[in-house]
Assembly symmetry: C2
């Protein structure tokens, strides 16, 4: 089964929804965008599956944190502000009542922490598979407001001539534990939307790897993206830029910025713990996404990394 | 693990949310109620777990239908109108790409059918457990508008002196296949809210059995509910009323109606396929929910049936 292909089918089937009824943007972006009477609403949902998105035995607080943070990161990718959340858990049979209670208590904690209190949810027991407990499967839905002046920042808004930037650094997220402790870039996205306005083009959060996710922006926008490997800010300097671009689970933001926006190649976005923002490439005519190496090679970036896409 | 107890913990922990920020009603009812600028919004999410809520090998269209219908039924329980939906699937490894695609196509179909097109979702692959494919786990989130004049119909609004009514019939739903083909009572709930206004007291949909769910209304409202076994409309006349009250998966509505509402004991709610509405009991001072048998016994109804509650 190929998740990306399945999601493309779903997005294609839903294409007629765009602009109809409450739907401004349907399946295929980081969030759906729905019409409200006081501005637009963002909505997104993500899975967290034991054995896929975290290892069995992971600390319950970190499981809860990641379950919420993944969806909050999708709101950040549209430059939105989280407002409320729903959580579901199909809970493994090997979980005690106390552990299950702690899991939901910590999801509730993190949801409030990021401004989107849990307003509801559902719990089911995961059946055993033969004699073995099945894995725990969580989903977290997060709703948000769009940015009050810039509106939702879509994947499809990159234009030829834009520069490509990313927040933070990439690579070695799963192996280094970053995937359990990342900070969704809500504040940084808000700062960029405030500061850049319409000069902030397209944006996406990096869940499946820099290469693959940059490729999604290129496809949605009908452009080509060229990335310079030598410019990639690496989380683990011993990792090659190409490998890092395929690692996934960075939960950083990649965005395109109109020429003339007067943004330096590298700045630190403010706050208590400044986050670097680095120019790593450009938007050109054509299609696809390539990485240019310092050795002069051109590597197709869209097949790098793994495939556990989410949308809406 | 006890799902009901866990959900009670969650609802208690979230009690401070009620009336704060966007939250009008938080966890603990059929839906959460959120403040919008043009009236209130309902939101609910439900699981559908292979091997728990449907048998492996069930027709894909019926799986999709039930996944959507369960959540739509929660909107009906608040007398709301569905507006949009999100679907997630953690898909078993034994599902082909074509089956997965069909599953989402049919969820999309049924969501549109009930007025709440899928605006987004997420797909994950369920890991194998040992050598065996894990079960498929679906969730469907449905949002809705509240009734324009009556507002949301809560579980907590039963009052001493109210009559208790149910739509349709109860019992033998899982064994008879009703659980895969039920029609969520959106139209009937709307009719009741139009016709009765504030005389429509509390409402709930019957997912875990008439006895257990009536007990939830009694607890939320701080009252006692007495049901007359002889009045239960039975789906399978060979089933005893007490057994039928524990069967669950009816997805009918139970409501309380103020005295003086001038509703007959038994009427058919209009439409192409009229749905019976039957008075089956009353709301009294006290607590709990009991069933009075024709033999003069009084049976505690709150422990009947099974426990796969959902909320919010």
């Amino acid at each position: 089964m190929n998740e990306s292909r399945l999601l493309e089918h779903i997005a294609r089937r839903s294409a007629d929804l765009h602009g109809h009824g409450p739907v401004i943007v349907g399946p295929g972006d980081d969030c759906a965008v729905l019409r409200g009477s006081s501005g637009s609403m963002l909505i997104t949902v993500d899975h967290l599956v034991e054995g896929r998105h975290y290892e069995p035995g992971t600390d319950i607080d970190l499981i809860a944190r990641k379950a919420v943070a993944r969806s909050v990161s999708d709101i950040a990718a549209m430059a939105g502000t989280p407002t409320w959340a729903l959580a579901t858990g199909a809970l493994s049979d090997d979980m005690t009542q106390q552990q299950a209670d702690e899991l939901f208590e910590r999801m509730s904690h993190w949801a409030r922490h990021w401004g989107c209190p849990l307003v509801g949810g559902d719990i089911a027991l995961m059946p055993r598979v033969g004699d073995t407990p099945g894995p725990t499967v969580l989903t977290v839905t997060v709703a948000g407001h769009t940015h009050p002046t810039r509106g939702p920042v879509l994947r499809s808004a990159a234009r030829i001539g834009d520069d490509v930037y990313i927040t933070g650094s990439v690579g070695a997220s799963f192996s280094g534990g970053h995937h359990l402790r990342f900070e969704p870039r809500i504040a940084q996205a808000g700062w960029l939307a405030d500061r850049l306005g319409d000069a902030l083009g397209a944006m996406i959060d990096l869940s499946d790897g820099l290469g693959r996710d940059a490729g999604r922006v290129a496809r949605a926008s009908g452009v080509r993206i060229e990335l310079d490997a030598a410019r990639f800010p690496l989380r683990d300097p011993s990792r090659s830029p190409i490998a890092a671009a395929g690692d996934g689970e960075d939960y950083e933001l990649l965005m395109t910025v109109r020429p003339g926006a007067d943004l330096p190649d590298s700045i630190a976005l403010g706050g208590d713990a400044p986050v670097p923002l680095t120019r790593i490439g450009r938007v050109c005519a054509g299609q696809g996404c390539v990485i240019l190496t310092s050795g002069g090679d051109t590597i197709d970036a869209t097949g790098l990394g793994w495939d556990h896409t989410s949308n809406g």
